[in-house]
């Protein structure tokens, strides 16, 4: 079974190829069959591989498969080779499974679009690249997948290319992530220089021997990789592209900008965990980046009016949690949150997609209001997912995954009270903005009518993901509640367990209660301010301070403005004034000088024979005189 590993990414690539070559001649059904089918089969295959991997684990709980040597130059030998262990297994499962559901959903969602086959071609290419990213056994192949998903993200954000705003958002996403990618590339150069290989496993085994804990070079390597991770995962300071990326079709936001691609950074850090663990400073920076990001984007989410932008900021914030988890060494908690987040955030986006589709492509929550009666399935699944996002205690999966991270932010050896406070406040804010969104969109007086009912292909993914958003949490119960942890047990074959101070169960229990309270109070406050006393908020935003604060948070803490001022404008300015190429002036100068000489001497060319004769005579006389005198 494991030998079939290479087929998993190959199928979506094949689907992409077929759609690109024959998409024009296929009917919509044909396109959907290829597009959805390729991902579906690869999903089934992944599940079969997973079953075989779990029931009959290969030696050392990992499996490698080499297809061919990609490049072979003087000891630099990255191969097209796949590596399967529990970490990549989980990512593969999420990618193919959630990916399949979103493809299914898209087959109805995009039905009226002219670019139907183009859409599925891009989506298949994305799934293929994402699988390559998580399955690559060396960093260069990982980088191939990494850039491949970046390309797909670009293509899909700009899917409706006629609108220049979408093109701008797409370019922004690509360029900003490319900044991170460049840093990651330098990280690869550094790792290769020291290890003479890019194979991930050999780096991980060699690193502790070669580098001492806290070695500057280890910190440099970890920070360079972190640069790539913050770009792809939209963390501070490269988070600005994700809210704009919402210009793409909603299934794209669900798949790429919520469930899978943006978590590539989390995968990278988890994958290279040994390098990070060697540098406590880098770990701390990862945790701080996560904590700051989750707070900043949480506050921004409270002020958004576009439902997709709320979700975008919440994605940034939740990935901030994953980074926080990684930063304190709670590897498996971060990965657990990744999985749960993939379920509920995909669901939220898909639900938002249904709302947008059935309401004249309206994104503004305040123009919808009270639509829970019109779309019951969407409402209930959306509510479940919102509960999970707000970490509603006990019944939602989000509670278990987020609580674990917040708890480890306190109790881990690398944790600290400040990090815990950030996580705790973040949980509180998350509850507020999530339920603000729910209350505004679904409650109150309806202002719009749904144009049509969502079909079955839209509903199935909602229901499936809704179920998962509840039950998946039980895969990893904390010590206080039965200590049933098959998920992290499985991951510990690939990632070390978190090292904690010996905290008591009672303490953990109290911290869980704090988290639960944060969530409940947040939900109540959202209810209070956005249902009961909405005028409070309206009043507050009318005060000078309130308006300024709202504008500031709404713009995402003015990062865009700042980058625009610092990088974009100067670059455009330089490019514009230098259009004619300043170096050409040198050669124009040389040409001008010769022209001056030309003018100086050309008057002697009078065209009069007698003048020429005269100058010959004078010249002859002068030369003769000189000859005689000398």
């Amino acid at each position: 079974m494991l030998e079939l590993l290479w087929i998993v990414p190959a199928l979506p690539f094949l689907g992409f190829l077929l759609l690109v070559l024959f998409g024009k001649h296929l009917s919509r059904t044909g396109v959907a069959l290829i597009g959805v089918g390729s991902v579906g089969i690869s999903g089934i295959l992944t599940i079969l591989i997973a079953i075989s991997f779990i029931t009959a684990p290969p030696a050392g709980h990992h499996f490698a498969q080499t297809l061919w040597v990609w490049i072979d130059v003087a000891g630099f030998t990255p191969a097209i080779a796949f590596y399967l262990d529990s970490l990549s297994m989980i990512f593969m499962l999420v990618i193919t499974f959630v990916g399949f559901l979103i493809h299914l959903y898209s087959s109805e969602f995009m039905l009226d679009d002219d670019g139907y086959s183009r859409f599925f071609a891009y989506m298949n290419l994305f799934i293929g690249s994402m699988l390559t990213l998580v399955m690559g056994n060396n960093l260069l192949l990982l980088y191939l997948g990494w850039e491949g998903v970046g390309l797909c993200s670009y293509l899909l954000i700009g899917f409706w290319y006629q609108d220049p705003a979408n093109g701008y958002a797409a370019r922004k996403a690509f360029v900003v992530t490319r900044v991170g990618d460049a840093s990651m590339a330098v990280g690869l150069f550094l790792l290769f220089k020291h290890f003479s290989t890019l194979n991930i496993q050999s780096i991980l085994t060699q690193a502790p021997d070669l580098w001492a804990i806290g070695a500057p070079v280890a910190t440099a390597a970890a920070l360079l990789l972190l640069g790539g991770a913050v770009g792809k995962s939209a963390q501070l300071p490269l988070q600005t592209w994700l809210p704009d990326a919402m210009a793409g079709p909603t299934p794209v936001s669900a798949l790429i900008h919520a469930a899978t691609m943006v978590t590539a950074g989390v995968y990278l850090i988890a994958r290279m965990h040994v390098v990070f663990a060697l540098s406590p400073i880098a770990m701390l920076i990862v945790a701080i980046v996560g904590a700051l990001t989750l707070l900043l984007s949480g506050f921004s989410a409270i002020t958004q009016v576009d439902i997709k932008r709320v979700l975008a900021y919440s994605t940034i914030s939740q990935i901030g949690y994953m980074f926080l988890g990684l930063g304190v060494g709670a590897w498996s908690a971060a990965i657990f949150h990744f999985m749960i987040h993939a379920f509920f955030k995909a669901l939220l986006f898909l639900g938002a997609g249904v709302i947008i589709l059935t309401h004249h492509h309206e994104h503004n929550m305040f123009k919808m209001r009270g639509i829970r009666k019109q779309l019951p399935v969407t409402f209930w699944t959306f509510l479940i997912a919102s509960g999970a996002l707000a970490a509603f205690p006990l019944v939602t999966a989000g509670f278990y995954s987020k609580d674990a991270i917040i708890w480890y932010a306190w109790s881990s050896e690398q944790g600290s009270p400040l990090l815990w406070v950030a996580g705790f406040v973040g949980a509180f804010i998350t509850a507020i903005y999530t339920f603000r969104m729910v209350f505004i969109t679904f409650f109150g007086e309806p202002r719009m009518e749904a144009t049509h009912k969502p079909g079955i292909r839209l509903k199935i993914p909602l229901v499936v993901l809704g179920t998962l958003s509840v039950i998946a949490g039980f895969l990893n119960l904390p010590e206080t509640m039965g200590h049933f942890t098959p998920f992290s047990d499985f991951l510990h074959f690939a990632l070390p367990a978190v090292r904690t101070f010996h905290e008591t169960l009672t303490q953990e229990f109290f911290f869980q209660i704090y988290t639960a309270l944060a969530s409940l109070v947040g939900i109540y406050l959202a209810y209070f301010f956005f249902i009961r006393k909405f005028e409070f908020i309206v009043q507050f935003t009318k005060t000078t301070f309130g308006a300024a604060l709202q504008r500031y948070w709404f713009s995402g803490w003015a990062f865009d403005w700042f980058y625009d001022l610092l990088f974009v404008r100067p670059y455009i300015w330089i490019a514009r004034i230098n259009k004619e190429d300043v170096f050409d002036l040198i050669y124009d100068g040389i040409a001008a000088i010769s022209r001056v000489f030309n003018r100086m001497f050309s008057f002697t060319e009078s065209g009069r024979i007698r003048a020429y004769a005269m100058s010959i005579v004078i010249g002859a006389i002068i030369i003769l005189t000189i000859a005689v005198v000398l």
Binding site: S602, F603, T604, E605, S606, G607, I609, R610, V617
Partner: protein, 102 residues
């Protein structure tokens, strides 16, 4: 055979050459310019003859024949040019044909 002194011969050649130069410079009529050129060429030829006679060598006469041939060719080309100039500018004024000015 009375030998003419070298100095007189060279003096004559020099005077002839100077006359040619002056003619070349002051005349605007192209025919006169051509004639002045002929005078200068013959002055040079005379100088060669005189020198050849002085040293008793045939080289001077060889050079003179050479100059003679060249002058003939030059006159042929020159007259053709003069005809063309007259044809084109309806004048023989050399200053009129100054199209080649830079």
């Amino acid at each position: 055979m009375i030998s003419i002194p070298l100095e007189s011969g060279l003096l004559l050649a020099g005077i002839l050459f100077a006359l040619g130069v002056v003619g070349l410079l002051v005349r605007r009529n192209v025919v006169f310019v051509l004639m002045s050129l002929e005078i200068m060429l013959n002055a040079a030829g005379l100088a060669f003859i005189v020198a050849g006679a002085r040293w008793g060598q045939p080289d001077g006469q060889v050079m003179f024949i050479f100059i003679l041939t060249m002058a003939a060719a030059e006159v042929a080309v020159g007259l053709a040019l003069i005809l063309q100039i007259y044809h084109r500018f309806k004048t023989l004024d050399s200053d009129a044909a100054s199209k080649m000015r830079g």
